[in-house]
Point group: none
């Protein structure tokens, strides 16, 4: 078939009350656009039997695929299955696989499974049950009245897992999609969005296929190259050609592709070079350490962190010289460097990195919120220290400091 | 009239491509809920004449008020007016006020007004033109076929200004809104959604006003009580009554109301009791510390953390006895308790809390991913230690451990 028409139905009264934003719809739409599936409608409807049934009827008339999220939980106001059964007449049956999974789960956490939980195992006759790798309620695909109906939980984490692992591969088999759309993300750090756009302005404006879309996120910027072609190979070639031109202009800021993060990139560099690191954190309060530990196998490169949020603990936990603190204050180059070299000693790592500054909102030691010192102490005990002035609220300042540290480590390690 | 039924139509292909998230719908819905207007549907449709007309027709049939955002701009693919004219037959005329405003604007920036800009002054015959205090395109209200049609620009800033300054006051005059809707959120921790729903099932199923809606989020669950009444006081009374009944059943799990978080609740309890805390973190890698430091003024209750990700650093940074580790392993009650009492000493705090376990995906010391020990060491050096088995991927296990710690601290401190 040439074009696949799809629509999304999000179920949940909390959406209609404006208590949560419908991020699921945007995410699913983006995934489908990349696969060449055209999304023509989004609808949101509450946990109401009649309105659900009515919306499903309408959707079935006009779309080849209907994606339904939410209303599959164990509680009484989860009515998605019931409403669809009402319009389709399909029997609901219990999926034994899911029942087994639930019983194992409740046994594992030593809780008894309440009866209403069984509802989460309800699927339709002749439906395909979609494995939920991060939760209990499975997804369901059922072919009814020339339309493909895809049911997924409303919890974003579970929906995304089922969509990625089950639904998208299934769609790829089922529909032979004529035009392929391929995207590649180029990730840059250490250059601002406007600077990047400025350097590439001629390239971007004369460019139609692939398209070049700049995307700024906290402390870094990415370019999404999207090519349409008859097949993947052709699309990839188009992307390769434009990537070469981009690299000529701003290649020195490129750190990775697609879903690679700067954190992962730094992690890999440390691993390659057989280096270990430890952090001494004041205003960041362990946020840097936590980011590092997000990586599986962090133990290969990460020894630990001292979160020394109080001046006293800088002394007691890292034996930073209290005369140094008295002389220069905790928000100082001197304190940052002492923290970096001390945490190396205490945690027996090859590199040390430290954060000290003012998260705000109040100023500290007469220094304004956003003032942050970051120091790297390398394996030869040489210090690389910089002072930054970040803008934003408390959380933003802390996040920017952590992101900046990965940027500094990236350029330090790739030398 | 007793109930006003409304729905939202958001116009824009960028929404269907997932390039932007539909935050307008959530914001408008929240505003309307507070005014007692019931929103029954959200729809999103692209910049397509026929599909727009079709969606407008459907909306007009089922709603008293239809809010339409987007598609009012000057460009070719802004088709909202044209599609509505097609179904209503209403004449489009130029609003002189808007024309004057635009001419003044372009004069001010010394630019000549391009012809396509005049389109932004197009309104319907007999419609009410809504002043746009932050942009050019005005909003429009027109009464057609027993439905009130409200047109606003899609730019959130402009939509919000018009909604607040023009639409909401107009609705208040037009509909004597008899009913007010009030919501209260009850927040519980230490009980699962299905268990809560099970304990309250009679209450919930026999309950119409206020309604009781369970909402589960990571590691906790909330109940939203929503009452309709003649006035606020009456609504609050209805909510108070049902809250009492709920407390009889599950009051021991209630930790707070509305936007209060468990983290903030624990923070306040520590402050009240003049207690300070420090954490020793292995698998959580500083995530607990970072959560605490999110609270402004954390220094009043938080001394710091030792992120001891390696067995060696448990010894070097916290001088946990290495024979203890050799005998029991790091994933053990004994190690957890040693970490909790040692971090208290090193960081000179009144309480210590520790995390040790297996974040996964691989098992560790022959223990499966998700096995976590959390220990609290109180000001009398008494330990409260529990072993948990969490499910999910690496990040989920770490987040659940941190959330669980706040739960344990809550029950420990409220004694």
């Amino acid at each position: 078939m040439t074009e696949v028409k799809a629509e999304l139905v999000s179920v949940g009264t909390e959406l209609l009350l404006g208590q949560i934003v419908n991020t699921n719809a945007a995410w699913i739409s983006e995934q489908l656009a990349e696969k060449g599936v055209s999304v023509y409608y989004h609808s949101v409807v509450g946990d109401n039997f009649n309105r659900l049934a009515e919306v499903f009827l309408e959707a079935g008339k006009r779309s080849d695929i209907v994606f339904i999220t939410g209303g599959l939980g164990p509680t009484e106001d989860d009515l998605t299955r019931e409403a669809f059964q009402h319009i389709s007449g399909l029997h609901i049956e219990e999926d034994q696989g899911t029942i087994n999974k639930m019983e194992a789960f409740f046994a594992k956490i030593n809780r008894t499974m309440t009866p209403n939980n069984r509802k989460q195992a309800h699927v339709f006759q002749d439906s395909k049950v979609l494995h939920n790798s991060v939760g209990i309620a499975p997804g369901i695909i059922v072919d009814y009245n020339k339309t493909l109906w895809v049911f997924m939980p409303g919890v974003p984490r579970e929906m995304k897992a089922i969509m990625t692992e089950e639904v998208l591969p299934f769609l790829k088999e089922t529909f032979v999609l004529k035009t392929v759309i391929r995207s590649r993300m180029l990730r840059f750090i250490g250059i601002g969005e406007s600077q990047l756009e400025h350097n590439l302005r001629d390239l971007v404006s004369n460019q139609t296929n692939p398209t070049i879309a700049p995307l700024a996120s906290e402390g870094e910027v990415a370019l999404r190259l999207t090519a349409k072609a008859e097949n993947n190979q052709e699309a990839e070639q188009l992307i390769d050609q434009i990537e070469l031109k981009i690299k000529k202009e701003v290649g020195q800021y490129l750190y990775g592709y697609d879903n690679v993060t700067i954190e992962k990139t730094v992690f890999d560099l440390l691993k390659q070079k057989h280096l270990t690191i430890a952090s001494a954190e004041s205003l960041t309060g362990g946020a840097f350490a936590s980011k590092v530990v997000e990586q599986g196998g962090a133990s290969a490169i990460f020894n630990g962190a001292a979160v020394v949020y109080q001046p006293s603990s800088k002394v007691s936990a890292l034996s930073v010289n209290d005369e140094l603190i008295a002389a220069h204050g905790t928000v100082s180059k001197e304190c940052a460097e002492a923290m970096a070299s001390q945490v190396k000693k205490v945690y027996q790592s090859k590199l040390g990195i430290s954060f000290t500054g003012v998260a705000g909102p109040e100023e500290l030691e007469k220094q304004s919120a956003g003032t942050v010192y970051i120091s790297i102490c390398d394996h030869n005990n040489k210090h690389y220290t910089e002072r930054f002035q970040f803008n934003g609220d408390r959380q933003t300042i802390r996040n920017r400091a952590v992101k900046k540290a990965f940027e500094l480590l990236f350029y330090h390690l790739k030398k």
